[in-house]
């Protein structure tokens, strides 16, 4: 359980990091928080020849909230983002990421690049339609969430590139969000999970509703269920039909922890719960029992 040998690079500036990444290409891997990469090294599931450790590049440890959204730098730790981002869904999701001690070290951008289909943050980026900024020696490119997650543990980051920041857009007024998941133990990766965003009009009728599901496909599965809500108040929506529509879009696989059928069942139940939670939050304290529980 020790990492294989590698050459450690510790650039202090972004440009220096991009130089090294360009030089080592596919033989290199970026180390940020290391809370996924170091276990993979310890278990010898990965053996990069070069590790480009970005922990000394202080300019990447930024969390910049604005009215349009929040930009999270590559070195911003989960705990820092939880405190500073001011984004409700991001905060709800981060509370489900591992344990507080892991969140002191792990980074939001690192989790996105790791692209684990069971992880919460890729689902949040996908649901919000956010993006990731990738830098290489020749310049920058911005990749939308829909193109960023390519497959299980595979993102659009190419050899020589560094994900420098991620952008999570804010939600329109009268929106509510929720994240529900079932894990075998608190802090474990979810057997299935659903994050939801619901937007209401002034009469508390649903004008938009989307979910992103984790652990039920190779990448986060985003389903727009706004049409099925038919601009109704949450209390009269046909939630069974909504849950069915979400289940139809997912393709879970079974493993030793849960069968495919169980995950499929879970994702429908969680979608309904998350959407109702989100609708309740969107209505706010002045909305009188909009879900009709």
């Amino acid at each position: 359980m020790k990492p294989p040998p590698f050459e450690h690079h510790a650039p202090r500036e972004l440009g220096e990091a991009l130089d090294v990444l360009a030089e080592v290409g596919p033989r290199g891997k970026v180390l940020a928080g290391g809370q996924s990469l170091i276990p993979m090294l310890n278990m010898r599931l990965a053996a990069p020849e070069h590790l480009v450790d970005i922990n000394r590049i202080a300019s990447l440890a930024t969390v910049e909230p604005s009215t349009e959204g929040v930009t999270v730098g590559a070195l911003a730790r989960h705990s820092q983002v939880e405190r500073l981002a001011g984004h409700p869904l991001l905060r709800q999701a981060l509370r489900l990421v591992a344990h507080p001690v892991i969140r002191n070290r792990g980074t939001v951008v690192g989790s996105l690049v790791h692209a684990d289909p069971a992880a919460e943050l890729p689902a949040v980026l996908a649901l919000l339609g956010g993006s990731v900024r990738l830098a290489r020696l020749e310049g920058l490119r911005e990749v939308g969430a829909a193109e960023f997650f390519v497959g299980p543990m595979e993102s659009a980051v190419q050899p020589g590139e560094l994900a420098v920041s991620a952008y999570f857009p804010s939600l329109p007024p009268r929106s509510g969000t929720a994240f529900r998941e079932v894990a075998r133990r608190h802090g474990d990766y979810a057997l299935a999970g659903v994050c939801a965003v619901v937007t209401l009009d002034d009469d508390l009728h649903i004008t938009a509703a989307r979910v992103a599901c984790v652990s039920v496909g190779p990448v986060p599965v985003v389903v727009d269920v706004g049409g099925l809500c038919e601009r109704r108040p949450a209390s009269t929506v046909d939630w069974a039909a909504v849950a069915r529509a979400v289940r139809e879009e997912t393709e879970p696989e079974g493993d030793i922890h849960a069968s495919a059928a169980y995950r499929l069942q879970l994702v429908g139940v969680l979608a309904e719960q998350a959407l109702k939670d989100a609708a309740r939050e969107a209505a706010g304290p002045w909305g009188s029992d909009p879900v009709g529980t």
Binding site: M1, H8, I38, N42, N55, V101, N104
Partner: protein
């Protein structure tokens, strides 16, 4: 290739030569002889190796020593003051918050930071705070009691 690094461990600057792949847990135990930090799973699950990095609890088995060159580390050996064991350590002893003791260094470091940030946590906050540390002996009840007792001791003593 070896790297020459300086870690400020429990208040003392320690210079050490390590290969890039040296985990902080192994650096503390093997290079610096501080075997109070225990190593359980080496993939971030058990929490035994938790130390304070610039005051924040982190997994030393998921941190490379070279990465934290120049930073301050507090291990279980550094928790006691000149007058003896810290309030958290005394509370764990008093409430039987340990049996075999293997997980204890990680719990002590985690709880020390938890009570610094939240001096009077609720039961729920305690359970959330220690959720990343596994104990196979106590069943956690006495650990939760110890955290509350430590909070009392700290409040009395300040």
């Amino acid at each position: 290739m070896e790297h020459e690094i300086t870690l400020v461990v429990n208040g003392a600057a320690r210079r050490v030569r390590v290969p890039g792949r040296r985990l902080l847990s192994d650096c503390l135990r093997h290079d610096l002889g501080l075997t109070g930090t225990h190593v359980g799973c080496e993939h971030g699950v058990c929490g035994c190796c938790t130390v304070l990095l610039d005051g924040e609890p982190v997994r030393s088995c998921l941190t490379f020593a070279v990465t934290v060159d120049g930073h301050e580390i507090t291990t279980v050996e550094g928790l006691a003051g000149p007058d003896g064991m810290s309030a958290v350590q005394r509370a764990f002893a008093e409430c039987h918050g340990l049996q075999c003791g293997f997980c204890t260094p990680g719990f002590l470091c985690t709880v020390t930071a938890l009570l610094r940030d939240n001096p009077a946590p609720t039961d729920e906050e305690v359970v959330e705070g220690i959720s990343g540390n596994l104990c196979r002996c106590t069943g956690y009840q006495n650990i939760v009691k110890a955290v509350h007792r430590a909070a009392e001791l700290i409040a009395e003593e300040t």
